[in-house]
């Protein structure tokens, strides 16, 4: 009987062609991307390949690519939807494989043999011993079908899955998506019709098959059965052809991405081949849309990371989309795939704007407007000159701690370079980096304190200041308090703290400011805080939205701060300070101000 | 111009007779025929008493405006001219030069405003020359005199400013020297915005005045701007701007009342043609530039070569043909006694280019 199985029928052709095409395209893509990796990255791969990281990567693939654990954290229903489709389908394939092996023993069976096993071997499973497989396969199919049902439901009512908005898709996505929706119902129908003709089947296909056999004449069942297998094969083929060009490419991209990341590859300021893995690993799940304040506060619907990645992938990225981002990092924090959204967007900007010009900023040569002397250097930052209270407070704190300070920019200084980088002008920014670094070295400081998180981030990431400890003033003040160098009185005020994006998500500093505030008064956390904090809208990274739009974002987030019932809003970034002060009816102060006024 | 009556707000008294004549440095060197013609018209055609005093000097205005002659010096020089006039028995001072005219007005106004400067000048004059300052009863520019006599001249006219071939009035660009009325609007006929002194002559003699946008713009002489070579680019740019602005009106000729302006509007055309290959006349050549004495002389039937028109950079023959003035082409470069004075080299400005400027620009 086994010899009769030749595993070929014309209807399998769409599937066979589709799947071969898909694998060919995927292999080609991967090879291209890997070949074009810069040398540094290839070295990293070689070094990482035979380490524990590879095993950890494999475990992560199971957790993320199959089970979608991170999405479960966003919303359980959403997580189930993703997991049922991915893991359910995966199990269908795996169990189906086992099924064929159990029936036929270990012998080569072509791909379509596995996939259309029910068709090729309808009578094999009549044996009651194997009914367990029938039921298992049916159970898995049901799991997937529920996933498909949820996906359909999500299109209509996304809020159930914790999403206010879902992604708007491109044509390839729509084709693949439609095919995907049909695959499993088609399988159910095809298998049930086969059961109706030949008997067998699990609790799902069996029941449905028996029902059909009872109500439809044999001739019709026979025709329908063949047609349904054709249809099943066709939608599978269609899905596979569309897959490499659609968002479903993420299924196969996330896997190598997980390993590459484990081997410590990451995107940089300049675009490179590795970016392809990150860009195509986006499943366009749309989880990044809701956290985006441009969407929530301004109704801007075309610039969120999902659209940015989509546009970039299909080579239709506009300057406006690249630039229209606050880089607050809220989407990056929410992304279940962990794509480095900010870095990618930045290197898109760099591609367009980074025009090397050696003569530029020649005027920076030899500039030194600094004053004072000491091992501790204080870099207020450009914006801080518009919030002189911060400068004054820091001077008082330094004086109270008896620290000698070298002031880098009390009389105005040179920009840290981060604003230029945010605009993609990385080469030009280098001039500023060099200028300031030379100043820090010339004045032989050991600690560099800055009041501006924007400066802080670039000092830490781009300046290579070995031997100089770079601290935000919140960290520095926290230390002074801990060491007792500065003693503070507590007051009865309730303070609400706004986490600046560049300080929190940007530099991971959440505790120091809270410690400091806790030392002078009571801290009341707003609805969004810490990693989840809202952006003030004043971000330098966005050059597209206008003043009114910035203000609207500030108003919304300030309302949330005020809702804590605080007496004073505290922040730790001069830019946030300006945005909030403009929108708030409560006093808005920098953390240094509340410290300075409470010095004993 | 008929609708423009505003010039009548700016009128001044011009003496009818008995003038003391002060020559112009530039005019007597570059347009000697003009000064001669003025004296000839006044004394022989109109029968006026005008005294050309050999004792008077340059007013030193060019030096003054170039910061090389101090105020005290020029005041004393001016006082001497006035003293000479009184000694000669005249009291109506007429100046051939616009710069001088401005200087005389400025000095008189200064004496008026700051009497101590007048006293000091009297003292200097006395000490230096033994002469006594007597201030003139009236000051006029020579163009004022011609303006005053324009109807009398019209009555004696041999030619009118009319194109003989078409019967149309000639289109005349008039250019007033800056120092004529821009320093003291009341010192010029018609004031500073719409000086009427030349326009009145043109209208009286049958021509049409061209009112073009840069009509009031300076010719660019500007003393230091011309005298220092490095500044000449700025000087020429002014004439350039005027010529660009007037060209679309296809003027038949330019007339100026300031000797410097007449010279620069004429000579800069040569320079622009050599530099840029551009000429502004409707015939693709330069636009002839006349002094008002030459204009009056042609109207009265003087011989163009006797008027010294061969001294011009831009050839005047096309204009003479339009006016119907008869002239001997062969006599152009013959000086006194028929002696050949030499012919200048050909210049681009007198060689017709393919198309006139205003057509090429479109």
């Amino acid at each position: 009987m086994e010899d009769m199985l030749i595993y070929f029928e014309p209807f399998t052709l769409p599937f066979v062609v589709g799947s071969l095409f898909m694998f060919a395209v995927i292999v080609t893509k991967w090879s291209f991307w890997l070949m074009r990796l810069p040398r540094v990255d290839r070295v990293k791969i070689r070094r990482g390949l035979f380490t524990r990281q590879t095993l950890l990567g494999a475990w992560e693939v199971v957790r993320e690519s199959l089970l979608h654990v991170r999405i479960f954290r966003t919303n359980p229903v959403l997580g189930y939807m993703h997991a049922s489709l991915a893991f359910g389908w995966f199990l269908l394939i795996v169990v189906g494989w086992i099924e064929t092996i159990v029936y036929l023993g270990l012998k080569p069976v072509p791909l379509q043999g596995h996939v259309f096993f029910k068709y090729f071997a309808p009578h094999l499973n009549l044996d009651a011993h194997y009914a367990v497989f029938e039921h298992l396969m049916d159970a898995l199919l049901l799991v997937v079908l529920i996933g498909v049902g949820l996906a359909l439901f999500k299109r209509v009512r996304s809020s159930v899955m914790g999403m206010r908005r879902t992604t708007k898709h491109v044509l390839f996505d729509r084709v693949a998506l439609s095919a995907l929706w049909f695959i499993f119902p088609a399988r159910l129908v095809a298998e049930s019709l086969t059961v109706a003709l030949y008997g067998g089947g699990g609790f799902l296909t069996g029941t449905l098959g028996t029902y059909l056999a009872k109500h439809l004449p044999y001739e019709i069942l026979d025709i329908l059965c063949m047609q349904s297998w054709w249809f099943y094969s066709a939608v599978l083929g269609l899905f596979f052809v569309a897959l490499p060009f659609s968002r479903y490419m993420h299924i196969f991209t996330e896997i190598p991405l997980i390993f590459l990341r484990r081997w410590s590859l990451s995107p940089t300021k300049e675009r490179k081949s590795y970016d392809n893995f990150e860009v195509e690993a986006c499943s366009r799940c749309g989880i990044c849309i809701d956290p985006c304040q441009l969407q929530a506060d301004l109704g801007i619907n075309d610039t969120q990371s999902v659209y940015y990645l989509r546009d970039r992938r299909y080579n239709m990225l506009s300057l406006k989309v690249a630039n229209n981002c606050l880089m607050c990092g809220r989407c990056e924090a929410a992304c279940p795939v962990g794509i480095n959204l900010n870095t990618l967007r930045l290197n898109s900007r760099a591609k367009r704007r980074n025009i090397p010009n050696e003569g530029r900023y020649r005027y920076l040569q030899g500039i030194d407007t600094s004053s004072g002397a000491g091992r501790v250097g204080y870099f207020a930052g450009c914006m801080t000159s518009l919030t002189p209270a911060v400068q004054r407070s820091m001077e008082r704190i330094f004086a109270a701690a008896g620290v000698d300070v070298w002031y880098a920019d009390r009389d105005g200084g040179v920009c840290c370079g981060r604003p230029l980088m945010l605009s993609g002008e990385t080469d030009a920014a280098r001039k500023m980096v060099e200028c300031n670094r030379a100043l820090f070295r010339k004045h032989e400081i050991e600690t560099l304190v800055t009041s501006c998180p924007i400066c802080l981030k670039v000092f830490r990431e781009e300046y290579n200041l070995e031997g100089i400890e770079v601290l935000h003033h919140t960290e520095y003040i926290a230390r002074l308090i801990a060491s007792g160098e500065v003693r503070l009185a507590r007051d009865s005020s309730i303070y609400t703290y706004h986490d600046p994006c560049e300080l929190g998500r940007g530099c991971g500093i959440y505790d120091a400011p809270r410690t400091v505030i806790g030392a002078v008064g009571t801290l009341a956390e707003p609805a969004h805080s810490g990693r989840n904090a809202l952006c003030c809208g004043g971000s330098l990274a966005n050059t597209v939205i206008n003043d009114g739009q910035q203000h609207r974002i500030a108003e919304r987030m300030t309302a949330e701060l005020e809702a804590t019932g605080c007496d004073t809003i505290v922040t730790a970034c001069p830019l946030c300070n300006k945005s909030i002060a403009r929108a708030s009816r409560r006093p808005t102060q920098d953390i240094s101000e509340i410290v300075a006024k409470n010095i004993l | 111009m008929a609708h423009r009556a505003s010039w009548q707000e700016y009128q001044k008294d011009i003496a009818p007779d008995k003038y003391y004549y002060a020559r112009s440095c530039i005019r007597q060197n570059f347009f000697p025929g003009s000064e001669w013609a003025f004296l000839d018209i006044l004394s022989n055609k109109l029968g006026k008493d005008i005294y050309d005093d050999p004792l008077h000097t340059s007013c030193t205005g060019i030096g003054y405006h170039s910061d090389v002659v101090p105020l005290e010096t020029i005041m004393t020089v001016v006082a001497r001219q006035f003293a000479l006039m009184a000694e000669a028995g005249y009291e109506n001072f007429v100046s051939s030069c616009i710069t001088s005219f401005g200087i005389y007005n400025e000095v008189l106004a200064t004496w008026e405003e700051f009497p101590e400067t007048e006293e000091r000048t009297r003292r200097y004059l006395k000490e230096a020359t033994g002469r006594d300052l007597v201030k003139p009863r009236s000051i006029a520019h020579t163009s004022d005199i011609i303006f005053y006599q324009r109807e009398a001249i019209a009555r004696k006219a041999k030619h009118r400013l009319i194109n003989r071939h078409t019967g149309e009035p000639l289109k005349v660009v008039e250019h007033i020297g800056c120092h004529y009325a821009k320093i003291f609007p009341k010192s010029g006929i018609g004031g500073s915005e719409f000086p009427y002194v030349l326009a009145g002559m043109i209208e009286a003699w049958g021509g049409d005045v061209v009112d073009y946008p840069e009509r009031r713009h300076c010719c660019g002489f500007g003393f230091r701007n011309y005298l220092v070579q490095a500044n000449r680019g700025s000087s020429i740019a002014n004439s350039h701007k005027k010529l660009e602005s007037m060209a679309p009106y296809r003027p038949d000729f330019i007339v100026a009342n300031c000797p410097g302006c007449a010279m620069f509007l004429d000579k800069w055309q040569y320079t622009i043609a050599e530099m840029d290959g551009v000429a502004y006349g409707a015939d693709g050549k330069g636009i002839p530039v006349l002094t008002y004495e030459e204009m009056a002389g042609l109207v009265l039937g003087y011989d163009p070569w006797q008027l010294g028109m061969q001294f011009h950079q831009v050839d005047v023959e096309p204009l003479l043909d339009k006016l119907g003035v008869e002239y001997d082409p062969g006599a152009k470069y013959l000086g006194a006694g028929g002696k050949y004075i030499g012919k200048p080299a050909d210049a681009a400005i007198n060689c017709p280019s393919q198309r006139p400027i205003y057509e090429r620009r479109k």
């Binding site: 300057l319 630039n323 367009r352 704007r353 025009i355 010009n357 530029r360 900023y361 005027y363 920076l364 500039i367 450009c382 914006m383 000159s385 518009l386 105005g412 200084g413 040179v414 920009c415 370079g417 604003p419 230029l420 945010l422 605009s423 002008e425 030009a428 500023m432 004043g538 330098l540 050059t543 597209v544 939205i545 206008n546 003043d547 009114g548 203000h551 830019l575 300006k578 | 070579q229 490095a230 500044n231 000449r232 680019g233 700025s234 020429i236 740019a237 350039h240 701007k241 320079t271 622009i272 043609a273 050599e274 530099m275 840029d276 290959g277 681009a348």
Partner: protein, 111 residues
């Protein structure tokens, strides 16, 4: 034309020539950022400018010149800007000055 060395040329007028200036680029810039027209010339941007403290960079003059169709030297001059964004914080008319620097450079630099 003979080759005469005059030792000088015809100076170009210093005046902004609104008749012959190419106003299309400035029109494009204003169309992309209409708020630019709301500038009242207060000079806050220039006064607060980080680059302006170190050089003669004057953003107000530059973008005003651009609006009049005067582009010469503007790109090079704008390259002095460090994009620090202080100007945007102080602009009383809420002009996106920082975006404007990039916009003008993009329009004048063709990238």
């Amino acid at each position: 034309m003979r080759n005469i060395v005059f030792g000088y040329g015809i100076s170009r007028p210093r005046a902004i020539d609104m008749d012959n200036n190419d106003l299309r680029k400035s029109g494009d810039i204003i169309a992309e950022m209409p708020e630019l027209q709301a500038c009242i010339g207060c000079g806050s941007c220039t006064a607060s400018c980080t680059a302006g403290r170190l050089t003669d960079f004057n953003f107000r003059k530059l973008h005003t010149a651009v609006r009049r169709g005067e582009y010469k030297g503007v790109y090079a001059e704008l390259s002095k800007c460090m994009l620090c964004g202080k100007c945007r914080l102080v602009c009383p008319r809420g002009i996106n000055t920082r975006g404007l620097v990039m916009l003008i450079k993009r329009k004048l630099g063709d990238f």
